[in-house]
Amino acid sequence: MSIPTRFTRRDFVATASVASAGLVVAFYLEGCAPGEALPVVTAKPNAWLRIGSDDSVLIVVGFSEMGQGVATMLPMLVAEELEADWSKIRIEFAPADAAYNNPLFGFQGTGGSSSTRAAFTPLREAGASARELLIAAAAKDWNVPASECHAEKGSVVHAASNRRARFGALVATAMTLPAPAKVPLKDPKDWTIVGTRTARLDTPLKVNGAAIFGIDVRVPNLSVAVVARSPVFGGTVAKFDASRAMAVRGVKKVIQISSGIAVVADGYWPARKGREALDIAWTEGKNANVSDASIAALFASKAKGPAARARHDGDAAGAVGRAATKLEAAYDAPFLAHATMEPQNCTAHVRADGVDIWAPTQFQTGAQGLGAAIGGVTPDKVKVHTTYLGGGFGRRFEMDFIQEALEISKAIGGPAKVVWSREDDIQHEYYRPASHHRLTAGLDATGQPTGWTHRVVAPSIMARVFPQTVQNGLDTETVEGAVEMPYAIPNVHVDYAMADTGIPVGFWRSVNHSYNGFVVESFIDELAHAAGEDPYEYRRALLAKAPRHLRVLELAAEKAGWGTPLAAGRGRGIAVYKAFESFVAEVAEVSVASGGAVHVHRVVCAIDCGPVVNPAIVEAQMQSGIVYGLTAALYGRISIDKGRVVEGNFDDYPMLRMSEMPLVETHIVPSTDSQGGVGEPGTPPVAAAVCNAIFALTGKRIRALPIGKVV
């Protein structure tokens, strides 16, 4: 693929092309005359690296930093091979450009716990190519063989003559040289940066208020808009009267856009007051009677109807029917909101000659395409400025907030920032799909499982986002983790019945693994108890041929002291699950207060994610994923009544806080196996680990989330 890329940074004066590895390493000199355009570079560029004559190393981060640490881990990959001086590393977020496409997606987007995996080889290659080019430059300057030179800590060294040159001093010569041949990457045993607990590059900016999130963007003549959207999903504006809103001091305009009525003002507060003063009549549409009860009835009917087969080994129904012991269970998981700490927002400026979008987005090329469509310009005229994201969790893969900013800016003829209130954010979401599950299993006389069936009933995200991937009624993502149920059971049947509820659904941290992890790891626990066996040992025996599952399971059990006595009133539960190519086991230790409140005291986590780039960030992501899943398990529920979301803010959609935080201990399996992600895999097992602990303690099996009070 050959994609032209035009660099327009004012301080670029030249590029040097390293064609061999399909890379472009761009060099620039500080202090040169501004305004010089660069030539168009073709040949599949990966323009990730710029080295300045001031020895600065600028790494362009093509993924969105939403807390998961890409803005540190990606530079670590480059710096490792470049032999850079880490203190000189700076970062910049990439513009929307196919050069920065996620190779696992084919577009520029951050999700699926994919960033570090996707960048692992290309970014090291980018660093290695640049290093060899700098070595070649030094060799030429010194008239010595390149093979006698090496790079270390931001310099090239010729030991025999005791010469040393900083990278910046080599830029001018490097620009004149041909590309080196394909450069071999360092042996992992020689890594000095990758694999270390390198401090995050974004921390200093995040402790003094200087980090700019989307909501912080300020441009000249900026208007701020708040939008009134239909309280019922799919509803439309029947009529509205803006006169009272226009009377609010600071309100400038009231306009209709595709999602509702936008009040445009000097700032957020007048816009909010203006919205409260709007008179709007809504046409509620076809979802006006959707409720939790109607959704439950739909799910129940789909549980009995036809379904798309997702896995079919042997004769599971027959095996269960003939079994000495039969188990049957229904599980439920609710809709969930992402509740990013930063409410949705976007700033846009639509002009005749181009469009600027400043957004906390996980989907840059999507934003660019939308900007082009609404702005009536070609995509190359749309500049996407990715800010820091105040949480993503999949919510910012959506573009509803970007579309609003674009429409408002276009309508008012100036820059506009749309800001959502927390209630807007909770009530106008793309929710984690609610789901209903029917499972059966059969055990033989020794307690060994002979058959397992699992019916997943849920709305489909892919039917909206990538409908071409849904074949014969099967959205394979809805059964992720259910199909890969890892236990050695000879007869297995998994199927899926799509249930469109009218409630919008989207990608929520760990997506459908979030419910399948709960269901599969709870039901296998039921099997263990039915067999009269220890749930850890039962799993262990059934995972004999699943070595990576087994390794994390054993490590978590060992570190948690599985089998050792617990303090009075405590229970322990275990779960193991693979998601996003990483393997995670968690042991939860819980107590239940006399009023039924569940407290999780400790979670011991073991992860095998293959080669680790930054263990401190892996640990942080395990804590984060566990808190996210635990919050949902304990409290998370979006309820629907008359086509509307009932909850609206943190008072009725509560979040885990400091006083409820368990001690999380993470143990990383040293691994050279294939690499997995870390942003999401910590989330799926935690609900099951906690519910299994509650069962161990109380004998009460939790089959519907949230857990709420256990009485």
Binding site: E65, D216, S624, M655, S659
Partner: protein, 151 residues
Amino acid sequence: MAPISLQVNGTSHQVDVDDDTPLLWALRDNLGLTGTKFGCGIGACGACTVHVDGVATRSCVTSVAQVGVKKVTTIEGLTSRRERAVQQAWIAEDVPQCGYCQSGQIMAAAALLKENKDPSDADIDAAMTNICRCGTYQAIRAAIHRVARGG
């Protein structure tokens, strides 16, 4: 309506807003101090925490009229040695993930540590009620203890 005078980070500012405007929005939209964050608008999450006369205060539910002549300190205005020590501890523990709530967390912690130089875990649980959706609580707790130990 006459502009309202606000004392922020040691400087007097005039803001031309209605009396009922939350301090949060005067800081962000009128004074450009965007380090203080909007999270919920009901005082539930603490992302908007600032100090008003030294007391941790949720600025999203505190109007400019209520603030009056009191001294407001935002994350941008932390200057004392003790306040800087909180930020340094946050760096040493590499606390932030997405970072959005951390201004509020640091303001809450700085207020706690001013009153209680060596808070217990129970003291931290009671005082640190701010929400962190990334789940950095363990690191926040460690950072607060680090300050108490003297960095």
